[in-house]
Symmetry: C2
Subunit: 342 residues, 2 copies
């Protein structure tokens, strides 16, 4: 008798459930490990110091395409991806390591470009590149970044602290990086169909920069500190507003209600979205790679937070039985949906 | 006028010179960064604690082949690669992060296997898996591991501390992992040429285990501590004895003289090497992936170190103008050569 075992595809679980499935049973054994998997960064305690550590992968063909990602920008973005997680814990990045696997066909001069972007971002965010590994790759390029930061233990912000009636806030504007990748992909397809047609990227400067050379919101962490606002929960928006807001709701065991009209979307993003027949709000909800901060603050901070430039209040936290809702422009209400593994 | 720029291939530099070229100009800016790129791990100072941080990449087709690497073993080896660097600094691993990029075709059950190997090794080496990132990959599997450890600052051991007349020591035996990969590759080729012929791996248990499921030498660090031996320099052998000894010589600005007869090689390794028409000593010098410790101790520790099981004294440190030499069985002397980028 032979029973063929049915294997489970990754797509059946999705990224978040997969991580939970694989690592949910892990118990921390060292007293220096305060918090493991499940937030933007792990939290460690060494002597009197509270440290946060996070890691990110950037994979060719998934996170970037060397056809249109200049290597200097890619180096810069690598550092941003690392430090953004540290800011999302309300901590300060101190050190990063960057490991890369590259085909032997890549030149030393190309890697010089990549490292010049890394060094520029290290200067901008005041972090030290202290290590890494290099390897050849049989196929595409892969980058791994680890970032270590220091935090004030009492001021660490997790995904789990949002409470009923807290205001939901985002920094900057959303969906631009997604609009940028759509433009780059459109031009790539045109070029690959007929390579006499040169890509026309003029007029798309803002969204292209948001895609290719994003910034982490150190300035928002500074601003919140100066304004004496300690968020109750926080996450950086890398998977899209919907998916990242789901994380806050899940970890805080709450629901949410956001207002479509209040989601900050840049004019250029909206214009491009319409040009591409995409609802602008879809870019914000599902696009990702914004590296903006999504956070909640107590209701009594309403006045201060509303007065801060670059911060938008987009909704509030509800009871978990209220679900996760978006109020549309016409006053209707829709259920928010988060994207899965892709 | 058009001048075509000549681009430099990675192979022209080799891995170590490439890293130097790319990162040689980096100045550390944060006072918590004590030592950056250039040793087995970076060294950090947070409050009263001295931490070490290292990262490694394992790339499919370069570091492992899923045709013959069971995923559970691969998970185990991932942790070993991470903690081995920490031991090589005479420090204690505390936390690791593991990030993986995998094809969507891999099943959840396969990843379960991989993580069961990680968890087993975490238990064995008393480290906590505290984070990681998962991504899909368009091509092969890639693994990135970062390990954080704690050290006694006065007892940190760098690559740079070897002095004239110090004894050169290695733990365990060398070349077995290389013999293992040769056997696996031979059987793979036979199987691919005619898949009716099943691989015959019987009688190769030891070298296969050394290749597929190596151990890090925590026990040697314990033993040295108990014996009051503080090495003057240390590195873990991952690139091969020759290449890793070169690192100690380069960082310590010294030469070396080792004795071929004294290089510890297991009988099974030697037998297989001869079967494959390779000089056994070549497996030890250039093979790599041994995860043994290579270290130097002051001459006055000769008696103690010689009495320790699992440690072999293979030579001594000379002046840098004496070069890097190996005395052969017939009393001749050959120049040691290190391997480059591959």
């Amino acid at each position: 008798m032979s029973i063929k075992q049915k294997l489970t595809q990754l797509s059946e679980l999705g990224e978040f459930r997969l991580i939970e499935h694989l690592t949910g049973d892990i118990k921390l054994r060292n007293k220096s490990s305060l918090k493991g998997i499940g937030d933007d960064a792990a939290v460690l305690k060494y002597g009197g110091n509270t440290l946060v550590l996070s890691t990110d992968l950037l994979v060719e063909g998934i996170h970037f395409n060397l056809m249109y990602s200049p290597l200097k920008h890619l180096g810069y973005k690598t550092v941003v991806a690392g430090v953004s997680d540290i800011y999302a814990m309300n901590a300060r990045p101190q050190q990063i390591t960057v490991s890369i696997a590259v085909s032997n066909k890549i030149s030393v001069e190309s890697l010089d470009e990549f490292y010049s972007g890394i060094k520029l971002a290290c200067e901008r965010y005041n972090v030290d590149l202290i290590g890494g590994d290099t390897s050849s790759s049989m196929t595409g390029m892969m980058i791994s970044v680890a970032a270590l930061g220091i935090a004030d233990e009492g001021k660490l912000v997790y995904r789990k602290g949002a409470s009923l009636n807290d205001l939901i806030c985002v920094s900057g504007n959303l969906g631009a990086a997604y609009a940028g990748i759509q433009i780059l992909e459109r031009e790539r397809k045109i070029f690959q169909a007929d390579n006499r047609i040169q890509p026309d990227l003029s007029g798309y400067d803002y969204v292209l920069e948001r895609q290719l050379k994003p910034e982490a919101r150190k300035d928002i962490i500074d601003l919140l500190g100066q304004s004496n606002i300690l968020p109750t929960s926080m996450i950086d928006i890398t998977n899209g507003l919907a998916s990242d807001l789901f994380q806050i709701c899940k970890h805080s065991k709450v629901g949410c209600r956001i207002y479509m009209e209040k989601i900050p979307i840049d004019e250029e993003t909206a214009k491009i979205a319409r040009e591409l027949n995409i609802e602008p709000v879809i870019c914000a909800l599902n696009g990702g790679e914004d590296y903006e901060l999504l956070f909640t603050v107590p209701l009594n901070k309403s006045e201060i937070v509303s007065s801060l430039k670059e911060i938008s209040v987009i909704g509030h936290i509800t009871g978990s039985d209220w679900g996760k809702k978006m109020v549309t422009s016409d006053g209707g209400e829709v259920e928010l949906k988060a994207q899965g593994w892709n």
